[in-house]
């Protein structure tokens, strides 16, 4: 990314001082605990303890696979928008090929052969496992919204977040016949040499682009398809919710 894009990227994210990162966790946590000795291991443990006390994400993208037709609009829009603000073009939401999933009648009546797709993305874990071992100010939490996101300008692509992320893509990606490059929900981008994950389109007016542009969502909102819920929705993160997310 060029300097302008990088700057734009930085500008769309909350000011550094507000965000919670590993460093601020450690500082805050130590102060709370009152410990004096500062060894690496102690740092990590303290950070872990502090991590468990972070606010829950107010929003996480939740999908209903029985409504998904695998059009990949979410992937494409995610990629395009992030690239337009200087971030990684790796889609952070992926459609998984899940043949066992049936399509709800309301949608199947239009597209009967397009069952078997499940949208999946970062689950905005209540305990942000990816965060404590980040050696830079890359992984952050927005204190106002609880959004767990990567400040890609700071990311050095060490890969620790990928190791620590507890959530895999269960299955193959639907795009391009099922190739899967990464196994975890945080993904390496070789083009920019950073890691990327769902950041709820932080800085975007209108919020997550995948939710805004999902064609099934639009068909439901216009009344063309009758459904009480959308295909892609924003829900508040809880332990219970986390278990239900794809």
């Amino acid at each position: 990314m060029n300097e302008v894009q990088r700057q734009a990227s930085i500008d769309t994210q909350p000011a550094e001082t507000d965000a919670v990162s590993r460093r601020s966790l450690v500082t805050g946590g130590l102060a709370a605990v009152g410990a004096v000795a500062v060894g690496v291991a102690a740092l990590g443990r303290a950070a872990n303890v502090a991590a468990a006390q972070q606010p829950l994400a107010k929003q996480v993208v939740s999908a209903d696979p029985t409504l998904c037709v695998g059009c990949l609009a979410c992937e494409v829009n995610c990629s395009t928008w992030h690239a337009s603000v200087g971030r990684s073009a790796e889609p952070r939401i992926r459609i998984l090929a899940t043949p066992a999933v049936a399509l709800r009648t309301e949608v199947a009546s239009y597209l009967p052969t397009r069952a078997g797709f499940s949208p999946a993305t970062c689950k905005q874990c209540p305990t942000p496992w990816c965060l404590p071992n980040c050696p830079t100010d890359g992984l952050r939490i927005d204190p106002a919204t609880g959004n767990r996101y990567i400040n890609e300008a700071e990311c050095i692509a060490c890969g620790k977040c990928e190791v620590d992320c507890p959530v895999e893509w269960q299955g193959t990606w639907a795009r391009n016949g099922g190739a899967k490059i990464s196994s975890k929900r945080v993904v390496y981008d070789p083009a920019l040499n950073v890691y990327a994950k769902c950041d709820l389109c932080i800085g975007r007016e209108g919020g997550p682009v995948c939710v805004e542009r999902c064609p099934v969502n639009l068909a439901i909102q216009s009344g063309y398809i009758k459904s009480a819920n959308l295909c892609l929705e924003l829900v508040a993160s809880t332990e219970e919710q986390w278990k239900k997310l794809v």
């Binding site: 059009c71 990949l72 609009a73 395009t80 052969t113 397009r114 391009n176 542009r213 068909a219 398809i225």
Partner: protein, 323 residues
């Protein structure tokens, strides 16, 4: 139509420079561009006419390859004895394009780089369409009989060019000229899908032009066929098409089978190609190859017929190659 500048460069470098301003578009035969301009689909402030550049229309043999300049007329490709002999699939595809009038005016470069025919994209009232920088695809829940079985991603429009399918079966390379000079790209990489960039169909920057198309000697010596199915015997774009070429007889060493009208780019039937390696073409292998060609297809509401159609065309193409 709003006013626009019309430029007539006399060299490739000049043309490339003229394309570096915003909303500049290339015109050769104009059979696609004029419709796009008149329907107001893409803003056009400058039209760069390539027809005054000499030497870009030659159909010739060079270094053992069949090479065709981007400004060669489609009609000339269809009637060229050299093309008919060295690349029969390409001659057949050229002959299948549109109508005699369009073939007289249209060029190979234009045929390859043309925009999609999706009726939502081509409707100025549907401004939301992804390909016009919008945020919606009407075909997903709309009238989708023209649209893709494979590789749709946000946009489901299919590749419209007949010559592209033939060239994909012939492993052609496309020579592109830009500000930094020339580069070559394989035809299957030249066509990009919406997942890469839904605003473009081909890997051309705004200030690049196609200058040459080259068919390697390995494939230009081999038998090849092109078949097209469309609502009428002329004028129409394909609802299904197949370009196929094989090396080796009676046992196939290598096969290339490319499918048209089923994906946003020419779609190689790689499973069929792999299956045919080392086999003879007979009724059973042909039937199996045809079946494999459409594996993984995910139709929309109105385009499931393309599955049977494509299988039928593959069967017919391979049957022709067998004889």
């Amino acid at each position: 139509m709003k006013s626009f500048e019309h430029m007539s460069p006399t060299s490739v470098q000049e043309a490339v420079k003229m394309l570096s301003v915003g909303n500049a578009r290339v015109i050769a035969g104009g059979t696609d561009l004029l419709g796009i301009m008149k329907d107001g689909l893409l803003p056009t402030d400058r039209v760069v006419d390539l027809k005054a550049i000499p030497g870009l229309d030659k159909i010739r043999e060079e270094s053992g390859e069949l090479r065709i300049g981007a400004l060669a007329r489609i009609g000339d490709l269809a009637s060229s004895a050299l093309v008919q002999q060295k690349a029969p699939a390409l001659a057949a595809a050229a002959f299948a394009v549109a109508s005699p009038q369009i073939r007289n005016a249209g060029t190979l470069g234009g045929n390859l780089a043309q925009k999609v025919r999706c009726w939502y994209y081509r409707d100025a009232d549907r401004a939301d369409c992804y390909k016009r920088n919008g945020s919606y695809c009407y075909a997903i829940f709309g009238q989708s009989e023209l649209h893709a079985l494979f590789d749709g991603a946000a946009c489901f429009a299919v590749t419209p060019s007949d010559t592209a399918i033939a060239l994909s079966a012939l492993a052609a390379r496309i020579v592109v000229a830009g500000p930094k000079g020339e580069r070559e790209v394989g035809v299957d990489d030249f066509f990009i899908g919406p997942a890469v960039d839904y605003m473009r169909e081909v890997a051309l920057a705004a200030d690049e032009i196609i200058v040459d198309v080259r068919i390697p000697s390995t494939w230009s010596a081999q038998p090849s066929v092109f078949l097209k199915a469309a609502p009428r015997k002329a004028i129409d774009f394909a609802r299904g098409s197949v370009g196929a070429a094989v090396i080796g007889s009676p046992v196939i060493q290598k096969a290339r089978i490319s499918l048209g009208a089923v994906a946003p780019t020419p779609k190689r039937a790689t499973a069929s190609e792999a299956f045919l390696e080392g086999k003879r073409l007979d009724a059973a292998t042909i039937a199996k190859a045809a079946e494999l060609a459409t594996e993984g297809a995910k139709p929309l509401a109105n385009n499931a017929y393309k599955i049977r159609l494509t299988q039928g065309l593959v069967r017919q193409a391979l049957t022709r190659l067998a004889s």
